[in-house]
Symmetry: C2
Subunit: 300 residues, 2 copies
Amino acid sequence: MLAVTILGNNSAVPAFDRHPTSQVVTLDGDNFLVDCGEGTQIQMINYKIRRSKISHIFISHLHGDHYFGLVGLINSFSLLSHQQELHIFGPSPLQEIIEMQIKVADTRLCYPLHFHTISGADTLVDNEKIEIRCFPTHHRIECYGFSFREKKKPRKLILESIRENNIPLHFYERLKNGEDFITTAGEVIKNEWLTIEGPKGKTYAFCADTKYNETMIDHIRDADMIYHEATYLDNLRERAEERFHSTSKQAALIAKKANVGKLLLGHFSSKYDTLEEFEQEAREVFPNSELALEGVTFKV
Amino acid sequence: MLAVTILGNNSAVPAFDRHPTSQVVTLDGDNFLVDCGEGTQIQMINYKIRRSKISHIFISHLHGDHYFGLVGLINSFSLLSHQQELHIFGPSPLQEIIEMQIKVADTRLCYPLHFHTISGADTLVDNEKIEIRCFPTHHRIECYGFSFREKKKPRKLILESIRENNIPLHFYERLKNGEDFITTAGEVIKNEWLTIEGPKGKTYAFCADTKYNETMIDHIRDADMIYHEATYLDNLRERAEERFHSTSKQAALIAKKANVGKLLLGHFSSKYDTLEEFEQEAREVFPNSELALEGVTFKV
C-alpha cells in the first residue's frame, strides 16, 4: 500500500508547533524520506517512524527548511549502527555541503552513503515495485518535485480456469507475470484465459516549493494524490508570486487541471496561526482538498 | 544576575525527550548562546527564550550535536527580521560551512553577522559587564570550553559618611567607580571613607566535551558554577576514555580539584533512559552536584 506520513508542514521558521518540511512515503516495507527540515529526526521519534527503514532520501532544494535536518539524520544513522545503504538524491552542491560537515567532525560512517545529483526531469529509482521520478518546479532557486508511481500489481489468477486446464502449482507465479502456459503436448494456453489484470498501481506526487506553474501538470497528471504547497491564502497572491510560492487556491487549480484524485495542502507561512481557511479556499476550486496535518498518514 | 538555562543535555542522538547540547547564559539583559545542536531554535520556543535577545553564540566544536542547529537559527533570525549584530565564535572551518549554506540558498541576511575563529586560550569578549574566555579541552577534535566572568559590581555607598562630608548627588556614580572626592578647598576625601567594596562578580564555566583533563583546572578554578560533561557512569570509564568523554565521577573530581561552588552534569549518553545515578555518583565525590535538566534555569 502506498501512503505518506507528514512530519512537517510549515514553511521557513518553526511556529505554532508546526515544523519545517518533511514527509515519509511508504510502500509496503520501503520508506522514502522526502525533504528533511531541521528536527526531522525528532519528528520521526515522535511519530514512531522507524529510522532504520529509510533507504532513500529525496531533497527538493537547498533552502534550509527543506534540508537542515539531513546532516544530523545521516550522523544519527551511523551512531545507531544503521547497516543498509542510504541513497540521497538532491541538487548540487548538497553532496559537498554534507561531506564537508562529516569530514570536519572526523566521522566515519558505518554504512554506505551514496549521493545522486539530480537535474531536469529524470527517473531516479525504477524497480519491480516503484518508479520514482523528479521534475523541476518554478522556485527562487533550483527545485524539484518527486513522483512515486507504484508498479502495476501482478495479474490475478482465475482459479476455475486454472483447475480446468490442470496448470501446475509451480507455474502460478509465472502466470501472474503474464506468461502463457504450454502443455507437454505443445498446446498453448493463453494467459488471458487464466488470469485477469491486476489492480492499477497508485501514484503520489510531492510538488515541492513553486509558484503557480502549469508546466508541472504534465508530470503529475492523473496522480491519485498530490501534495502541493500553499504558503499563503489567495488574498496574498502577489506576495506569493514575488517569493516564488503558491496560494491555496492556486494549488487547487493545479490539482484540478492535472485531474488528480486528492490534494494535500502544506508549507504554510508562519504568519498563520490557524489553517482552516486554506482548506476552505482550496475546496471551492477542488473539493477533495485536505490539510497535510503533521503526524497524519494519508493512504494514496 | 548571571544564570544559565539548559536547552539540551544529551549527547549524540536525541533520545528520551533529551536534546543535543545547547544552553543560554544570561546576564541582566544580555543572552549568550553556548552550543546549538539540532532543534535548538525549537527548544528556545518551548522554553520562551527570546531569540531576538541573542547577540553572541559560542560553538565549542564541530561535532554535529553541538552545532547542527546553528545555520537554521541564523536563517530564522533573518526571517524574523532580527536587527542587531550577531557574533559567532567557534573553531575553523565553522564560518566556511555556514557561509556556504547561506550562499547556495541565495539568502541575504538582514542583520550584520560576524564570525570569530577561536584558538588556544583567549579572551573573546571583555566589556564593563563581563569577560568571556575560551580554553581548550581534550576531545577527539579541536574543542573549547568557555568561561563567563561577571565583572565586579560597583562599590557601595556609605550614606552616613556621604552626608557628613556633603558629597553632591552628581558625584555618586564616580564614587561607585572608586574615585576620591576633592572639595572646592582642595581637601581630598578618600573613596574608602565613603564606600565599601561591591559584591564580587560570579563566574560560570561551560567545560564542553572532554576526557578527564586536569589541565583544564587552571581555567575554571574557584568558579561559582561549572557545567561538565558526564557522558557515562564510571563503570564505563574505559569507553569514556576511548571516546574522549568523561564519566560522572570524573566530572565531580574536576569540580572538587578546581574548588568550584557547584557542578552541573550533562551530555548524557543516549544509552541511559534515566539519570538519577549520574547525580548519585557525582555527589559521592562532590556533594554540590546536580543534573542539568532541560528547561531549568540555574542562578550562578
